[in-house]
């Protein structure tokens, strides 16, 4: 399964090496015919992840030269239509890392599929056809990747062979795309010819970076523990485990942070506290455990805890029955406001209704249909204990289920109890507000360019000025406003503005108590914007 040099092969060192490998999950996005299947086929083929019998079968099915795309085109229905229709998962490994690819097709259902693949991805490869440049779909891919919180973005400019491996073409695409995702890494490739995919290309000496595969092998993996900060711990209880011998523990998968025996945790919803007595596993007790391990915790006192409860430490999660969430609509049946849905969040399922809808793309939205993105105001039958998705994916994500068809109809990225993130809380605290007149520049395009949607937060004036500079330097469309009223709201919405409102305004989210020092205050407010997913 691996390319191995001719040196004598030691299975012991191989096994030791294997055991220390980590795992990178990535997803691919591109429009139809950008070469996604070919690229994945190339990665699998050149890294020797396909078997001889598969190669024989693909050779038989290829007209002429080996058609790499056939390694990944799975189902009969797709074969007949000549397109891939759904998310498929592929596996390969190199000497350095194991990889799981969520392969999502690029036809009109791509939003739903890409969101699915992106939900578990550490990295996204966005493919661009060098001949066509940055397309509206590329912008959308960048936007969805950001919406789903994928930490790393690679832009692969494909089919460089068809533009004479031109540096100028690559640079122009990089220049155009860069503002959509300032931290993206760009690489010029030819999936068909293999340039810069597994091996560096001699045909593009102007490109200094590593080949795509080497980048995938070495890009640092952020761990959830690190992302969410010290002392931060989230443990949704999946199941209480009891035995006849009086053992009582709580089984679950750590959703964020780290835990050690002796740590104090708070159980929600009861709010009661206890100390972790032990971390139990089949392989013995552990001195510490971190996300995303599945463990069983015992506590030093009896608390009444059941499935769906949350053990937490560090900053408290939000507790709310009504909150805002960004949504990807996944089903052909459109959203029906006020209809009872089911919402699954961590290990609990509650009933939920959507009280208001805003589209990220248009101005008004009383509905959300398949592949639409939007912001929902949601009310649930019981409170959820959650973190903003931007802070922690596992406790910030949810799905909506139609109780009649049982279909999974929407993916939700929770924003906050009052802060509506990219949406602006209108004066009446509902989110059905209408904006001025339709504009040829959509909100989505603005959001893609600026890295944020329209939003407003409340902040004291001197800190707001510092923050304005910080945000401007990051490419944000930012302004300081002294009052918050309907006129300001329309302005913010139609310009996709990030407003720092210095006048007294309870209706707006705020970063809370700020340090007296303005630089420190601005830094804290910036952290707030990042955590809540506004940025």
């Amino acid at each position: 399964m691996f390319a191995r040099a001719a040196e004598p092969f030691s299975i012991e060192s191989f096994l030791a090496e294997e055991q220390s490998k980590d795992l990178l999950r990535f997803t691919t996005a591109g429009s139809v015919d950008d070469g996604k299947s070919t690229l994945i086929g190339r990665l699998l083929y050149d890294s020797k992840a396909v078997y001889e019998d598969q190669i024989r079968a693909v050779k038989r099915a290829s007209a002429g030269e080996l058609d790499l795309a056939l390694f990944t085109d799975g189902l009969r229905a797709e074969r007949e239509q000549g397109i891939t229709i759904d998310v498929a998962y592929r596996y390969f490994a190199t000497a350095r890392r194991k990889f799981i690819i969520a392969d999502t097709p690029g036809h009109e259902e791509y939003t739903r599929n890409m969101a699915t693949g992106a939900s578990t991805a550490d990295l996204a490869i966005i493919l661009i056809d060098a001949r066509h440049g940055v397309q509206p779909q590329s912008r959308r891919h960048a936007f969805i990747a950001a919406l789903l919180g994928i930490p790393n973005i690679v832009v692969a400019v494909n089919k460089m062979d068809l533009v004479d491996y031109s540096h100028a073409v690559f640079l122009a695409i990089e220049r155009e795309f860069r503002p959509l995702h300032p931290r993206a890494w760009f690489v010029p490739i030819s999936a068909r010819e293999g340039d810069n995919v597994v091996r560096p290309s001699r045909r593009m000496p102007w490109f200094q970076g590593p080949a795509l595969l080497e980048y995938l092998e070495t890009v640092p993996l952020a761990s959830t523990g690190e992302l969410s900060g010290p002392g931060f711990f989230r443990f949704p209880v999946q199941r209480a485990i009891r035995t006849n011998h009086g053992f009582r523990g709580y089984a679950g998968q750590i959703a964020a942070g780290l835990v050690r025996p002796g740590d104090e945790v708070t159980a929600l919803p009861s709010g009661r506290r206890a100390r972790v007595k032990s971390i139990e596993t089949f392989d013995g007790r552990l001195n510490e455990a971190a996300a995303p391990m599945s463990v069983t915790l015992t506590l030093d006192r009896e608390l009444d805890i059941s499935r769906g409860d949350l053990l937490t430490a560090g900053d408290p999660p939000q507790v709310a029955r009504s909150f805002a969430a960004r949504a990807v609509w996944m089903h052909a049946d459109p959203l029906t406001p006020a209809k009872p849905y089911l919402l699954k969040h961590t290990c609990q399922t509650v009933s939920a209704t959507v009280s208001a809808v805003r589209s990220l793309e248009g101005d008004t939205a009383d509905r959300l249909a398949l592949n639409d993105l939007g912001v929902l105001a949601i009310e649930t039958s019981r409170p959820l204990y959650f973190d903003p998705y931007g802070r922690n994916r596992a406790t910030g994500s949810a799905i909506l289920i139609d109780p009649h068809t049982n279909a999974t109809i929407a993916a939700l990225m929770l924003v906050g109890a009052e802060g509506v993130g990219q949406a602006v809380p209108p004066a009446d605290r509902r989110m059905t507000g209408k904006t001025a007149c339709p504009t040829p520049v959509t909100l989505l395009e603005r959001a893609s360019r600026f890295g944020h949607g329209p939003a407003a937060i409340a902040l004291r004036g001197s800190a707001a000025r510092k923050l304005e500079r910080l945000l401007f330097d990051r490419g944000a469309n930012v302004a300081v406003l002294t009052h918050w009223d309907d006129a300001a709201r329309v302005l913010v919405e139609s310009a996709g503005l990030l407003a720092l409102v210095t006048g007294h305004s309870h209706a707006l989210p705020s970063p809370g108590a700020l340090p007296a020092d303005d630089d420190a205050a601005a830094a804290k407010a910036l952290a707030f914007l990042l955590e809540t997913g506004i940025l």
Binding site: F14, D53, T116, S294, H345, A398
Partner: protein, 299 residues
């Protein structure tokens, strides 16, 4: 900071899935095929509910043609772990059915697919855990971890629920059931490494030994079942061989091999350039055959 290896990540994910199944279904069951993947799945179930017992039974669909060593191993494992073992056989069909008389696909249809559907219906099971992996076969690459089957046990590849994060939708209507694949993201190599690392017991047939075999070109066939037709003068010969995957003895080819330890099996695997199903007669018909079987309800 704790750095998790890929196996630790896969283990954590699988345990999460097993616990979700136990929590969200009324009557789950674990399909136990006795193979290496089932052995890993069973160990993960022990881990998921430790120190409590595994809260569901095992179900083995016994076609009647499994290797004798598999059956002995099955009973021994269930007794060792102390888990309830259910065995179902399509007795009505067994009498007149074998792969040589009715053909491989009809035989599988009756003794595997039909038997499985009957057993799930009779047991009233609403969720069946299976050890299938997405890397096994192209059509599996698209299958969800929680995969809905309609009332006749069929899979509709075009109408699957989106599956995001680790939030699994376990809602079904009466008559429907869900197949759950906790090992979806494991590869064949991951499974072997895990077996090695965790010292998980597996059927001895996986290890190379001298075994009496009918040698037909590249194919090594076990003469265990009396109905295997032999050519004139053909006698089993002792061949050093092992099974790469386990199934019914008349339809599972062995491979020539000296790999009699786990490290040797793993070394063989990484130098071996053929997929594990190739030596299973079951997949020898058309490309895409697995998908057809799954549409019919085959696991």
């Amino acid at each position: 900071m704790i750095a998790l290896s890929h196996l630790q990540r896969l283990e954590a994910e699988s345990i999460h899935i097993l616990r979700e199944v136990a929590a969200e279904f009324q009557r789950p069951v674990m399909l136990y095929s006795i193979g290496k993947d089932s052995s890993v799945m069973l160990r993960l179930a022990q881990k998921a509910f430790h120190p409590g017992p595994i809260p569901f039974p095992l179900l083995h669909i016994d076609t009647g043609y499994k290797f004798h060593e598999m059956i002995a191993f099955r009973d021994q494992q269930a007794a060792r772990i102390g888990i309830q073992l259910l065995v179902h056989t399509n007795r009505a069909a067994l009498a007149g059915t074998n792969p040589f008389r009715v053909g491989v696909s009809r035989c599988c249809q009756l003794l595997k697919t039909q038997a499985l559907l009957d057993a799930l219906r009779e047991g009233g099971f609403d969720a069946a855990l299976g050890g299938a992996r997405r890397d096994e076969e192209k059509s599996r690459a698209k299958e969800r971890i929680f995969s809905v089957r309609d009332a006749s046990g069929q899979w509709d590849p075009k109408n699957q629920r989106p599956e995001l994060w680790n939030l699994y939708n376990s809602r079904i209507r009466p008559g429907e059931s869900i197949r759950v694949f906790p090992l979806s993201n494991w590869t064949e190599l991951d499974v072997w490494q895990y077996i090695h690392l965790e010292s998980i017991p597996i059927v001895p047939l996986y290890f190379a030994a001298l075994r009496p075999m009918l040698v037909r070109g590249d194919t090594l066939l076990s003469p265990e079942q009396p109905f295997i037709p032999t050519l004139p003068g053909e006698k089993p010969r002792l061949v050093r061989c092992r099974m790469r995957s386990l199934g019914c003895s008349p339809c599972t080819g062995a491979i020539r091999s000296d790999a009699d330890t786990l490290p040797k099996i793993i070394a063989e695997l990484i130098s071996f350039r053929r997929s594990e199903r190739e030596n299973r007669v079951i997949d020898h018909d058309v490309e895409g055959s697995m998908e057809l079987k799954k549409r019919e309800g085959y696991f």
